[in-house]
Amino acid sequence: MNILVLLKMVPDVVEELEVAPDGKSLDTEFLRLIPNEPDDHALEEALLLKERLGGKVTVLAPDAAEVDEALFTALAKGADRALKLSGADASSNTAGLALAIRQAIAATPDLQGVDLILTGTQANDDLDTLLAPVLAQLMGVPFVGIVTSVVPDAGRRMVTVQKECPKGVRAEFEMPMPAVLGIQAAEKPPRYVPVAKVRAAMKSLKIEAVEAGEPLPALPIEVIAMDKPVVSERAEMLEGSPEEVAGKVCEILTARGLL
């Protein structure tokens, strides 16, 4: 199996996010970027497939702050090759990113025979579109998203996947390889890798640079404003020690006949 994993850095939404002075974008000064969580699941699924079937896993990520650490972490987890893509502004121009990745794949001989391309089913900064279906369209290969199971049949050059539907139901699809799959969750939680192993990877392994071949078109979407969602009603906050707030919750439950 020759598997390509696409990984993107996105704002960590656990942190406080602020609007930049232009009123149209995120303030990047205190922004912390982390790997897009579904992308991390895509990497895990790829590593599980490699363990099961052999082959190699290449991770490709557009350049961004902290991306080196994410790529070395992928290498420490068992990826064979890490590529950093320059020339693509990945944030909120997903269609442009898909084009850049298409060019990078075409320019990297090793990736032309790729069997599967796995990436997260979505990212929290996908303003314009989703990466997996657009890339699949550019490459003329099949796509399925919200995938939670990937079973390739190398002999038949087919892959069977399961995707999540509503109400806990899963749907099974079969398609020829290569295919681009949007991963929702790997079969197992993403593996943990100790910091020491990442540091060792930083010393002994390397990240290769690839470039988007042509300048990318600007996003044909005009951002007029960015702001925090205005909510008509916000929760009434209960203050006090854990015991005090617990008492207040009990009063609310009693008043509603729930206790």
């Binding site: 656990v14 579109t129 609310i252």
Partner: protein, 325 residues
């Protein structure tokens, strides 16, 4: 005619999905503001009867093909591409759910059209469509305009009340032909039902729901004790299920259950849109989170800025005290 507003009618397992009615209600507002027709596009195989409930639209375009028996992204996108090229609507509103995810993106890529993802609202300003797109896990909204026609808009659940898009009047149906391969590349094989045996969280009156803030599987016990004291059950958000701490049958949200209990306690759940979609209908929502800006406080009736691990045992003790244990 050209320039209509289209809504892709999502259906699953023989029923029009609720989100379709929400999006129809939004589509009708846009069509009225622009002075154009609202049309629903129904794609399926032997599903023409479903058009009868889509009367919020002035007309239903129905395409029947064996490749459209299930709503696979590729077949639906190709069918829509056929129709958009011949009829030239101004905008196509595509529901964003687990059934339809990817259709809008594929369609836009095939047409070379602009797609705006994660719209929570769309309006008409100076005769142009303007969308609000929910980003960064629900922490920001971008107000955007797209250049060119058609524009493909992915619409998040909850944009309008379901009832606003329901009607008893059956609309006229135009059957339209689409050119699709008889053997699509992506072939549907089967549905896999969830494992039976566990409780049905939709039937529970009280849910103690846990998220990432619960930190480890060991802490689930704190939620379990409270649920038992209240006579309810434990459910969870996506990260907890993905970690394997709770089975999939306990998942609330987009891929899991849509619950409407009398009391929903969200412990350490940030309130990502995918989760909120599945619990916003609860009669009473109390949220506990260390982050005062967590989006869960926008949907909760009562909020507690604290560590769930501190509040859960305190609440269990108080509940037991009140019940006289």
């Amino acid at each position: 005619m050209a320039g209509e507003i289209w809504v892709l009618a999502e259906h699953w397992q023989g029923q029009i999905s609720e989100i379709t009615f929400e999006v129809l209600a939004l589509g009708r507002e846009l069509a009225q503001a622009l002075g154009v027709k609202l049309e629903a596009v129904l794609l399926g195989h032997g599903k023409k009867d479903l058009a009868a409930s889509l009367g919020a639209a002035e007309q239903v375009l129905y395409a029947d093909h064996s490749s459209l028996a299930e709503m696979t992204a590729e077949s639906c996108a190709v069918a829509l591409e056929n129709l958009v090229r011949s009829k030239k609507p101004k905008a196509v509103l595509v529901p964003l759910s687990n059934v339809t995810l990817g259709i809008g993106s594929l369609l836009a890529a095939k047409l070379g059209a602009v797609c705006i993802n994660s719209c929570v609202d769309v309006s008409v300003s100076d005769g142009k469509l303007q969308a609000r797109s929910l980003l960064y896990g629900g922490k920001m909204e971008a107000t955007v305009r797209a250049a060119g026609d058609p524009v493909i808009l992915g619409i998040w659940p909850g944009c309008r009340p379901i009832e606003a898009g329901r009607t008893t009047v059956a609309p006229p149906v135009e059957e339209v032909a689409v050119a699709l391969p008889d053997e699509p590349k992506v072939r549907f094989k089967r549905y896999i039902e969830p494992e039976a045996g566990d409780i049905d969280i939709c039937e529970q009156e009280v849910l103690v729901s846990v998220g990432r803030g619960i930190q480890s599987a060991d802490n689930l016990e704190l939620a379990q004790e409270l649920a038992e004291a209240l006579g309810g059950a434990v459910s969870g958000s996506r990260p907890v299920i993905d970690q394997g701490w709770l089975p999939m049958s306990r998942q609330v949200g987009k891929s899991g259950a849509n619950v409407k209990p009398k009391f929903y306690l969200a412990a350490g759940i940030s309130g990502a849109p995918e989760h909120v979609e599945g619990m916003k209908g609860a009669a009473l929502i109390v949220a506990i989170n260390t982050d005062p800006k967590a989006p869960i406080f926008n949907v909760a009736h009562y909020g507690i800025e604290a560590d769930a691990l501190d509040v859960l045992p305190a609440l269990t003790a108080k509940v037991k005290e009140r019940k006289g244990h």
